[in-house]
């Protein structure tokens, strides 16, 4: 029989639960460590305190890193989503000569070790004489993140019926009108996911920031430096805050999406004749 045996089903769910917990375990440990008063993490924790968070919030250096990270993430997400929108159309919507090659081209950077790619970008920018700063980090991260955002949008485009756009053109819409009235609204969920993906991937990205940011420091870079230079409980504190920020964006993003969907559904229900 093609069905899965009930016992197997239960085992599969059990395994799924164990792995899911394991995925989040290190983050929980990090949060725990950040609340331990002692200089080194020792379990069981003898004294809890908010001291490391107070230190973190007081630190100018961390504040600056957070601002840099945020600017980089927003820039990367905005540029990615524009590139990804058009890229996804070329990837999945239009039937053109170079399409197959373009698809492989887009996939290639994703299939590349980020550290090697980061180093190569550093070498390249150095050679052509670009001053390294957060600007170059945006460029470096785009090389890896824009293709991923393109894939995310492309998944939506693959489910999109191109006849809609052709029909709009056929009814007299200009290229721009068809794009604005038909393509964009229908692809909106994919574009939004792509934006969210890019924002979060940039926020957590280390290799490109490490090799291409020059004197500017992002949060993952700051963490790395402290981890290498000697453990301080501010590392888990900053880590935890960074996780919370990411989670907030993720939850917030999906809430907005769900909210908009609900509003549209209600609007549609009201417009339908009783």
């Amino acid at each position: 029989m093609a069905d899965i045996h009930p016992l197997t089903r239960r085992l599969l769910w059990l395994f799924f639960a164990v792995v899911s917990i394991a995925l989040y375990l290190p983050m929980l440990v990090t949060a725990l460590a950040s609340l331990s008063r002692s200089r080194f993490f020792i379990f069981p924790v003898s004294r809890y305190s908010w001291k490391w968070y107070e230190d973190t919030l007081a630190s100018q250096q961390i504040e600056q890193a957070a601002i840099t990270s945020l600017i980089v993430a927003v820039m990367v997400a905005l540029i990615s989503v524009v590139l990804a929108f058009f890229g996804a159309l070329a990837f999945a919507r239009y039937d053109w000569k170079g399409r197959k090659s373009f698809q492989y081209l887009v996939l290639l950077p994703i299939f590349f070790p980020q550290a090697v790619l980061g180093l190569a970008v550093q070498l390249w920018l150095n050679t052509i004489g670009v001053e390294m700063s957060w600007h170059s980090t945006v460029f470096g991260q785009l090389v890896w993140i824009a293709p991923i955002a393109t894939l995310v949008v492309a998944i939506q485009v693959f489910g999109y019926e191109p006849a809609f756009e052709d029909a709009a053109r056929d009814l007299g819409a200009t290229r721009w009108q068809a794009m604005r009235d038909i393509t964009l609204p229908l692809l909106w969920p994919g574009i939004f996911s792509g934006f969210l993906f890019a924002l979060l991937l940039s926020w957590s990205n280390f290799p490109f920031a490490y090799y291409t940011s020059g004197a500017d420091v992002t949060i993952p870079e700051w963490l790395h430096a402290k981890m290498i230079g000697g453990y301080t409980p501010m590392v888990p504190a900053v880590g935890t805050l960074s996780i919370i920020a990411g989670a907030a964006v993720l939850v917030g993003g999906f809430s907005i999406a769900a909210f908009v969907k609900a509003i549209l559904a209600r609007k549609a229900a009201r417009q339908r004749p009783a």
């Binding site: 379990f43 239009y94 081209l105 887009v106 070498l123 888990p236």
Partner: protein, 322 residues
């Protein structure tokens, strides 16, 4: 068929364009249906190319340019800081003579083991997501994907705090059973564990995509024709899911080959992966050509794997689930 579908174009298009775009009626009415259809088709072709331009330019400037430069540098004399000079193979000779192949070997071995483990772990998870999760699959997908948005450093540091001496595991077992586990970091298996942990989503999502391509009907039909569970798995499920399996395997292998943080934070220096050697060559060693030569070798291995796998995968078919 064709005639009828073009009728609205003939009747409708000139009128609409005349009204809404303010074009002269003459110009508009000169378009016959055939011409409009031709234009639509050409528009579609040109639009494909034009849409590809922005991303294409970025990849040209940020991916191919740098990689080409790395290749150029790898043929420069030791310690030179310019890609223009008399080409030489001495960097590649150095790699063999100065035992750099050891880090290569470690990276390759760990990547292979981690990829095999990932296949074994992610496959049942993918089956759960595709065949059991039903409507809640979206939520589980987010659950699994969310850790990707936390910096690798933080998560590996978390595992280190879990496994290290006086860490969560050691401390907990000490107070529960009176005997601690001691330090479990600083060995090769824990590095492989780190690789498996970090790259799990990169194996899982392609597998899910692959398994979604296995039509439930095909499975039922095979069962109806007398196939056992194992025969269905071997003859139907594996071949139909193979594009996803191949992509996941490739992705994880290449990424694990280029991984460095796992050895740093969990291995505590017990093994040196090849990327760390590359990094040192560029930074401490100030020997760009050597770093480039090592990178080129890594790139070649990755490229070979990509070419082998991608020739068997049709990207359109994979995403459209036909």
């Amino acid at each position: 068929m064709t005639d009828r579908s073009l009728e609205p174009t003939m009747v409708g298009a000139p009128a609409y364009q005349g009204e809404y775009q303010g074009k002269s009626r003459d110009e508009a009415s000169r378009k016959s249906a055939g011409l409009v259809a031709e234009r639509l088709k050409r528009f579609s072709g040109g639009a494909g190319m034009w849409s590809a331009v922005p991303l294409g330019l970025l990849l040209l400037a940020g991916f191919f340019g740098p990689l080409l430069l790395v290749v150029l540098y790898s043929f420069m004399p030791r310690g030179s800081f310019s890609p223009i000079g008399w080409p030489t193979l001495e960097n590649y000779r150095d790699i063999v003579e100065q035992n750099f192949y050891i880090s290569f070997g470690w990276s390759l071995a760990m990547a292979v083991v981690a990829t095999i483990l990932l296949l074994l772990i992610a496959y049942p998870l993918a089956v759960t997501m595709v065949r059991l999760a039903g409507k809640r699959a979206d939520i589980y997908t987010i659950l699994i994907a969310a850790p990707l948005f936390v910096a690798e450093n933080i998560r590996l540091q978390g595992w280190s705090l879990f496994f290290d001496k006086a860490g969560l595991l050691d401390g907990a077992s000490e107070s529960l059973f009176g005997a601690g586990t001691g330090s479990l970091v600083g060995n090769v298996p824990i590095v492989v564990f780190g690789l498996v942990y970090v790259y799990l989503p990169f194996m899982l999502f392609p597998l899910i995509l692959g398994l979604t391509n296995v039509a439930p009907d095909a499975r039922e039909a095979a069962s109806d024709l007398g196939a056992t569970r194992f025969q269905i798995f071997r003859d139907i499920e594996l071949p139909l899911a193979s594009p996803g399996i191949l992509i996941g395997t490739l992705l994880c292998f290449v990424l694990a080959l280029g991984a460095v943080s796992e050895a740093k934070f969990l291995g505590k220096g017990v093994v040196i992966p090849v990327v760390q050697d590359i990094d040192s060559a560029f930074t401490f060693g100030q020997n760009w050509p050597r770093g480039s030569a090592l990178s080129v070798l890594l790139i070649l291995i990755a490229a070979a794997a990509i070419v082998v796998v991608m020739r068997r995968v049709d990207i359109d078919r994979m995403f459209t689930r036909r």
